[in-house]
Amino acid sequence: MIEAALFFAAICYGLALLMDLWRISVGPDAADRILALDTMVINFIALLVIYGIARGTAIYFEAAMLIAMVGFVSTVAYCRFLLRGDIIE
């Protein structure tokens, strides 16, 4: 049962990644692209967790948490760049 659920979830996140890719490609705005990239990171984290469950190891869960911790920083940096130009004022 869990295999089927994991497979389904993985497909969903894979599709989400494709949609993010589409959004980044067509834009139209820089904000759209940043948001899509951030979502991409989130989807990636989700996939990592699913992969960890499938492999039956806790390491991926941990890695997912750590990536969640640092992954958003670049989004912040992109946003500050758009808003203020200088990211460290």
């Binding site: 894979g14 890719l21 490609s25 990636f44 911790m69 640092v70 992954g71 670049s74 200088d86």
Partner: protein
């Protein structure tokens, strides 16, 4: 090692240690400086003299410390008769020169510098003559080239000095390069780099096929150093140096190094036809040519320089004869030449110093004005001419005697006739030195009224002339040292008898002929001189300059063709070369059959693959819009990181994401001050070319990876996995590789990282102090921006995150040895945590709360890692061997302590410091740009303060 032999190390080290002193002592005055320069020299000389009895008995003193045994390099010294003779000359004349220079150098010359260079040079020379390892000898050999460069160019304000120094370095340096080749061949033939072994293996060397190449290469080194034809031209130009330098370098030391080497290698290399014809002929030509040119030189020092060239030729010729008697004559003449030539150079210096000119045509009649100098100069010059009862006569007689029965290509006349001619010319220029400088009427047009110098200045040459006379009248006093040195040169037990009267021999007739002929030549010097000036001659300096210019132009053509300043050109060359090498390797065959089948591709992985390809292609297509390209690069980083995670390397995935984040921030910081669009510069053809190269390289690498993945190949990974726990005490193979197996690499890498951080800081500093800072100030970067610089939400969230992130960083760091993690990732994670504070709360606010300088952090990191590595030495293990142990403290579980963790701490600190310093440096630009109002408070609008305002109002 015999008794007291370890003093040899002390002797070798003293000048180098002493070289540190003059620079300090000059503050105490010039006399103090000179005295303190004399101390190490005198001390070394005294130590050397303690060996005198043993060496004169024929013993060889040896001392050795292993240095790099794998390379055959050991710090081994030995002292035999030859080395003793040279060491005595180097140190003895060194002392005299120290005294002389004290009075010669004027108040404007930096004396401390002079003495430091002098001692460096002295140490290098000393090293050459007592080295027992040819690799060590080569090191000292190069050191003499370098330190003599400093000495010759001592008067930096004179273009002749600089050019002369450069020429000397170019000639002797390239000779040294050839010699390195020759010595390596020699070491290869014998199978040992120890000089003692090489000298004992003469027959083996002479029988080897490699004998001739080795001989020619080594002789190139010796000939360039000893200014033999056709490399003689650098020596006169080196006369631009202060006279003490000339006296030291060109009488006793530098130029004698080549002669020393030929004498040293005599047992190993001499005795063949090749040796005789190359060495003997070169010496003969140099002797005659040098003497001929010397006769027509008007500059006193140039005259002496060419006379030195001529005498070096004489020595080379004698060594080239390859007979034992000739070797004795050579050794004896080395001593004699030293005494009279050093005295003559110093005399020339005194004349120059007092009369303010050393042009012979402007001098004359000085015997009345400078009687002491006249006596000294005359005695030395008569010795140079080879007049009886002066020491030059004795060795010249022996030379003529040897020449009289030397056959050259079936001819019994070539050598004796040319040797007599050389002696004749030598008499002529020596007489000219006396007659045209000191004799004749007193003139009234000297640039400066000359008179005798103070005692300190003429004491040194006077002492040397005493030696000239002593040896000239009582040759037996020099017998012990000549015996010891000549025996050392030949390797045979010799007992020469030095005496004045040899009976009526051919040499006597040749001598008489030379003296009479020389007097005649002097009498007709004026018309000869006019003819000489008119005659066309090749000018060595012009030829040399032309050669150097041609070489430089050639090098520039290549350099500018390859390095034209466009990075696309460099990358293209690099990539094409790599692809080419890969193609060659691939064409060599040897690709085994594929042993694995392609696995099915899971759909999600295919998505990742698609993301990577789409993002890469998009970056290529859209790279002109720089911000968009940066976002796309984010996708690529994410995909790579996903790949790492999928291929069971979650820690690499984390590292990749962290590096990506930091990189993006760096690029964004820089992009703020750069144009947001890349201008169109490359023409279509160039784009096409670069595109093809890129596709070839990418396709090649892809194909390579594909080929590897489909085959079972033994890799080093298996070894690492098998030994990681046993050898390195950790179960995280990646970490054990980083801190243990490849710890040395990691150590180098963190140093490079630290240097990179510091360089970025320095560049930024230079940039901000330069004109760019003014331009920055005048640009307004603040149009249409959000007003809230430091949003409340972000400030609060990042502050909450800070302790969590730090804890995570420490956690990752601590478990790194056994579980995914390690110092590198931990450093990045904490760097990101700190960067969040910079971004959210502002630069000034964060900077005010930061206690440790990032520079210091880099330094501490490198030092900790280095000390950890060095700690292994205490236990007699190689650098960076790690140790580990298990500790059990009751409340917590048993845990492991490994030295690797300390090393990892060094990595952690360096990474953190370097990353923060880079970002800090880049973000400093903003302080200079536009309106630079800095916030002291974290938030622009602090709601808590606003509330209190409201309360006050109420």
């Amino acid at each position: 090692m015999s008794d007291g032999a370890h003093f040899l190390f002390l002797i070798a080290l003293l000048p180098f240690v002493g070289a540190l002193v003059p620079g300090v002592m000059i503050r105490a005055g010039r006399t103090a400086c000179a005295s303190f320069t004399a101390v190490p020299t005198a001390l070394a000389l005294i130590l050397l003299m303690t060996f005198a009895p043993a060496v004169l008995r024929g013993e060889v003193i040896q001392a050795e410390i292993e240095w790099l045994p794998q390379l055959g390099l050991s710090a081994s010294f030995f002292l035999d008769g030859l080395g003793f003779l040279f060491a005595t000359m180097i140190l003895g004349v060194g002392l005299l020169i120290t005294l002389y220079a004290r009075f010669y150098l004027s108040g404007d010359d930096p004396m401390g510098q002079f003495y430091t260079y002098l001692l460096l040079f002295q140490g290098a020379m000393l090293g050459i003559v007592i080295s027992d390892n040819i690799l060590l000898l080569l090191i000292f050999w190069e050191l003499t080239s370098l330190s003599s460069f400093l000495l010759i160019g001592y008067w930096k304000h004179l273009p002749e000095g600089r050019q002369g120094a450069r020429m000397a370095l170019a000639v002797t340096g390239s000779g040294g390069l050839a010699m390195i080749g020759g010595m390596l061949i020699l070491g290869n033939i014998v199978g040992s780099y120890n000089l003692t072994d090489i000298l004992a293996a003469g027959d083996l060397i002479r029988a080897s096929d490699w004998y001739l190449p080795a001989l020619i290469l080594i002789l190139l080194g010796a000939f360039t150093k000893s200014a033999q034809f056709p490399f003689h031209f650098w020596l006169p130009h080196a006369m631009a140096a202060p006279t003490p330098v000339s006296a030291y370098l060109h009488s006793a030391t530098m130029v004698k190094a080549g002669v020393f080497l030929m004498a040293r290698m005599w047992p190993a290399l001499a005795g063949t036809d090749a040796w005789f014809y190359i060495v003997g002929t070169t010496g003969l030509i140099t002797m005659v040519l040098g003497a001929l040119i010397a006769l027509f030189k008007d500059d006193l020092k140039a005259l002496l320089a060419f006379s030195t060239v001529s005498h070096l030729g004489l020595l080379t010729m004698l060594l080239g004869f390859g007979t034992e008697a000739a070797a004795v004559a050579a050794v004896f003449h080395i001593i004699n030449h030293l005494t009279f030539k050093a005295a003559l150079f110093m005399t020339a210096g005194i004349v120059d110093h007092e009369a303010h000119t050393r042009d012979i045509k402007r001098l004359g009649g000085l015997r009345h004005l400078m009687p002491v100098t006249f006596v000294i100069g005359t005695i030395a010059a008569l010795s140079m001419a080879g007049i009886p009862f002066f020491n030059g006569f004795l060795s010249k007689e022996m030379m003529l005697e040897e020449a009289s029965h030397t056959k050259w290509l079936d001819s019994y006349y070539v050598v004796p006739v040319l040797a007599t001619l050389g002696a004749l010319l030598s008499v002529a220029y020596s007489f000219r030195f006396i007659a045209h400088v000191f004799l004749g009427p007193v003139r009234d047009d000297y640039p400066h009224k000359p008179h005798d110098p103070p005692f300190g200045m003429w004491a040194a040459p006077a002492l040397l002339t005493v030696l000239v006379l002593l040896i000239g009248i009582l040759p037996a006093v020099a017998e012990p040292i000549v015996t010891a040195a000549a025996s050392a040169v030949t390797g045979a037990d010799l007992h020469p008898h030095l005496k004045i009267w040899h009976g009526v021999t051919p040499a006597l007739y040749m001598s008489i002929l030379a003296i009479l002929g020389g007097a005649v030549l002097l009498a007709i010097h004026a018309p000869l001189d006019r003819a000489w000036i008119k005659a066309p001659r090749p000018e060595a300096k012009t030829i040399f300059d032309g050669l150097v210019a041609a070489l430089a132009a050639f090098a520039r053509t290549i350099t500018e063709g390859v390095h034209n300043g466009a990075i696309s050109r460099y990358l293209a060359i690099f990539t094409v070369a790599s692809v080419g090498l890969g193609a060659v390797a691939f064409a060599g065959g040897g690709l085994s059959e594929r042993t694995r089948e392609l696995l099915p591709i899971p759909p999600v992985i295919a998505v990742g693959w698609l993301m990577l390809i789409v993002a890469t292609v998009s970056v290529v297509l859209m790279h002109r819009a720089r911000f968009r390209a940066l976002v796309l690069i984010g996708i690529i980083g994410l995909s790579i990181s996903a790949g790492f995670a999928y291929l069971s390397a979650p820690d690499l995935a984390l590292t990749q994401i962290s590096v990506e984040t930091v990189t993006i921030m760096l690029l964004l910081l820089a992009l703020h001050f750069l144009p947001k669009e890349t201008p169109r510069e490359s023409p279509m053809g160039l784009k096409l070319r670069d595109g093809l190269i890129a596709i070839a390289a990418g396709g090649g690498v892809g194909g390579l990876v594909y080929a590897f993945l489909l085959r079972d190949i033994d890799t080093i990974s298996d070894y690492h996995i098998a030994n990681s726990y046993e050898g390195g005490g950790g179960t995280n193979v990646v970490n054990v590789i980083l801190v243990d197996f490849r710890g040395y690499d990691t150590y180098g890498e963190i140093i490079v990282l630290g240097i990179a951080g510091l360089i970025i800081y320095a560049l930024m500093q230079a940039l901000l102090e330069g004109p760019a800072a003014r331009r920055l100030r005048n640009v307004d970067y603040s149009q249409d921006r959000s007003r809230d610089r430091h949003p409340l939400m972000m400030v609060v969230v990042t502050r909450l995150l800070m302790p969590i992130a730090i804890m995570v960083g420490i956690y990752i760091f601590l478990r790194g040895h056994n579980q995914p993690g390690g110092g590198f990732v931990a450093g990045l994670v904490i760097a990101i945590a700190l960067l969040m504070q910079y971004m959210a709360s502002g630069f000034a606010w964060t900077q005010a709360r930061q206690r440790i300088e990032y520079h210091a952090m880099i330094g501490f990191g490198v030092v900790i890692a280095g000390l950890t590595g060095a700690g292994a030495w205490v236990f007699g293990l190689p650098f960076l061997t790690s140790g580990y142990t298990y500790v059990h403290l009751p409340p917590i579980e048993e845990f492991e302590l490994a030295t690797a963790m300390l090393f990892d701490l060094g990595v952690f600190l360096t990474v953190l410091g370097a990353v923060m310093l880079m970002l800090y440096s880049l973000s400093r630009i903003a302080r200079y740009a536009g309106s630079a109002d800095v916030n002291v408070e974290a938030m622009d609008y602090d709601p808590s303060e606003r509330q209190s305002d409201a309360e006050e109002a109420r």
